[in-house]
């Protein structure tokens, strides 16, 4: 932007955060293992200061993963349009905002003009009927949807998640579900705002207050889709019939129930990479490491669920296990409840907040070729380290697997 002589149109509506580059090891500084990472942090600091943009810097008490801190601070609001150069920006659609990920050039466009040029997407409603069984989570809802309809299944559409099982989710669970909309190739995912949404946002720093809060509520209560609204596409899923899901391949669409098997028609090159054979049972597959974190599953409710399984138990011997809270605030709240002790006593590392080993953030990876069970969103080749075999799953399934030393069913531990 500087090279083109352009300025940020309205710096008060732009926020910056250190999450992808920052180190998550205890006692961190600006230094990171990522080549060029320190320069990135220093340049971001200088550029945001010069432009008058609020930066949630490395040591800021409100630092964290962008899609965790934006809701925490009340930056995302129902009816807002919110973008970030990160594909998981759709997470924030959980608040009834139109929130989606873009590239760097579009981010530049948004900052320079306060607008984006956008073609109206098609509309799709995914309705989850019924009640989720115990130990089946929003992550499992998302993986089941993507496994059934493909990683490209939402292409060309903005998705509204609806139905009894979605209404029953708390805000954190709704964020997890919307987070995975990008793994479905949807432009975004969103959920109609309701009283739960409003109660969650009330009193947060950047949310309106006083008479403006009342005026906002009146508008927000009109945002939900009409009962007779028509969508270009409709998908229905019975939430009551879902099971904990785990990925077996190198795309989120290559996922199956934890008590299932690698399908008989799995592509050979995927099997060669992941080191499993068709027909093999997923449960019982030995793992080297476990990871709990990322914008998908690093909020307080995620950590509580994992801790409920880990409490008073030890993870399998020799297993590397890491827990990275999604924000510095989540970390403080978890520590106030004693969750950090539960993770540490079970054998987990307890980290500072950031994107961490979801993808080489902070320049860290798992050991080459390691098999990792992870609460993250992508099981792509080498995403978590060279030739690392990633199995994505819910915090409950990751905790159960860490205890067992192999892919395990949380329903059998709880």
């Amino acid at each position: 932007m500087a090279a083109a002589g352009r300025k940020v149109a309205d710096p008060a509506r732009v926020f910056a955060v250190t999450d992808h580059i920052v180190d998550t090891r205890p006692g961190r500084t600006d230094q990171t293992l990522m080549p060029g990472g320190q320069a990135f942090i220093t340049e971001t600091r200088a550029a945001t200061l010069a432009a008058g943009i609020r930066l949630f810097d490395v040591t800021d008490p409100d630092q964290g993963i962008v899609h965790v801190i934006s809701p925490e601070l009340g930056i995302v609001l129902p009816g807002a349009t919110l973008i970030a150069p990160d594909s998981h920006t759709c997470t924030q659609g959980a608040f009834g905002a139109l929130a989606w990920g873009i590239g760097s050039s579009e981010a530049e466009h948004a900052m320079a003009t306060g607008t984006l040029r956008l073609k109206k997407p098609g509309t799709m409603r995914v309705t989850f009927a019924g009640v989720l069984p115990a130990m089946v989570t929003p992550k499992d809802m998302a993986l089941a949807l993507i496994a059934r309809h493909g990683a490209g299944g939402g292409a060309g559409h903005a998705v509204e998640f609806a139905g009894e099982a979605v209404r029953a989710l708390d805000m954190e669970g709704r964020m997890t579900l919307c987070n995975m909309a990008t793994e479905f190739a949807a432009m975004t995912g969103m959920i109609a705002p309701d009283e739960k949404t409003f109660a969650w946002l009330a009193g947060r720093r950047y949310a309106p207050s006083g008479p403006q809060w009342e005026a906002a509520l009146a508008q927000w209560r009109m945002l939900a889709s009409d009962p007779d609204a028509r969508f270009d596409r409709e998908i229905g899923i019975d939430a009551g019939a879902l099971a904990p899901m785990v990925s077996w391949g190198t795309s989120p669409e290559q996922s199956a129930p934890i008590d299932g098997c690698v399908p008989p028609d799995a592509p050979q090159r995927v099997l060669d990479y992941i080191g499993l054979a068709s027909g093999v049972q997923l449960k019982g597959t030995a793992i080297d490491a476990a990871f709990i974190g990322s914008c998908t599953n690093s909020r307080l409710s995620d950590l509580r669920q994992a801790a409920s399984l880990l409490q008073g138990r030890r993870i399998a011997q020799g297993l590397k296990a890491i827990c990275v809270p999604g924000s510095s605030q989540v970390k403080r709240e978890a520590e106030a409840e004693g969750l950090d002790r539960i993770f540490i006593e079970a054998g987990f590392e307890w980290r500072e907040s950031g994107c961490s080993m979801c993808f080489y953030a902070g320049g860290e990876s798992f050991a080459p070729g390691a098999r990792v069970v992870s609460t993250t969103n992508r099981n792509f080749e080498s995403r978590q380290g060279p030739n690392v075999k990633t199995h994505i799953a819910s915090p409950a399934t990751v905790a159960a697997s860490a205890l067992a030393g192999c892919l395990a069913d949380p329903r059998e531990i709880a």
């Binding site: 008060a12 080549p35 590239g103 579009e106 432009m187 080489y360 080459p368």
Partner: protein
């Protein structure tokens, strides 16, 4: 400003896989600076080189096949460019010399990044992609006509959003285009600010 696109004739590089993600197109480890250049060497690094840190070409990967050394078009399957929004994936493709990708479908952020950087995302159905791959010959992509053709006369048309097409044809800068509407944007924001003041945050003290 991106390089304008009118047409390209090239033997397409067959990468006939579904869900080629941006972590494969440009691994995180290959993004070493805050700039947009120096990325072509890391393009498809995980598939292109033997081992995890060296630069010895893997002869089994199609990008290293000398027949495709001058390919300017990639031929792929479903959901090309899924995953991370990193625009580095498109910068790496453009720097390497690719001008278009033909696929059954694209991830939306990747397709948007292509248009901003002079790469044409061409959507064709599976049968057309199989026919092109099977022919083993060069193709011509013409943007104004929105068609892809083989030397033997077989031809397929493709759809592209009118604005994306105009931007690619002329290498237009989207920001310049939008700033021409600055007055209308300001007028709309004035109305919106009155209706939803909580959206328009005050500058921090």
């Amino acid at each position: 400003m991106a390089r304008p696109f009118s047409e390209v004739t090239s033997l397409p590089l067959p990468l006939l896989r579904d869900n080629v993600d941006t972590d494969q197109i440009i691994p995180s480890r290959e993004m070493k600076s805050t700039g947009k250049t120096g990325l072509a060497d890391g393009l498809f690094a995980g598939w292109r080189y033997i081992g995890t840190s060296g630069r010895e070409p893997d002869p089994a990967f199609v990008l290293n096949d000398p027949r495709y050394a001058h390919s300017a078009v990639i031929l792929a399957g479903r959901n090309f460019g899924c995953g991370s929004s990193r625009e580095h994936a498109v910068w790496a493709l453009a720097e390497y010399g690719f001008r278009a990708v033909i696929a059954e479908s694209f991830a939306p952020i990747f397709a948007g990044n292509c248009v901003r950087n002079g790469i044409v995302p061409v959507v064709l159905d599976a049968a057309a992609i199989a026919a092109i791959a099977g022919s083993g010959g060069p193709i011509t992509i013409r943007l104004a006509e929105q068609d892809v053709s083989l030397a033997d006369g077989r031809r397929w048309t493709f759809a592209i959003d009118a604005e994306a097409k105009a931007m690619l044809l002329d290498g237009l800068d989207a920001i310049d285009l939008t700033l021409r509407q600055a007055e209308r944007i300001a007028a709309w924001q004035g109305q919106d600010r009155a209706a939803r003041p909580w959206i328009y945050l005050e500058k921090p003290a």
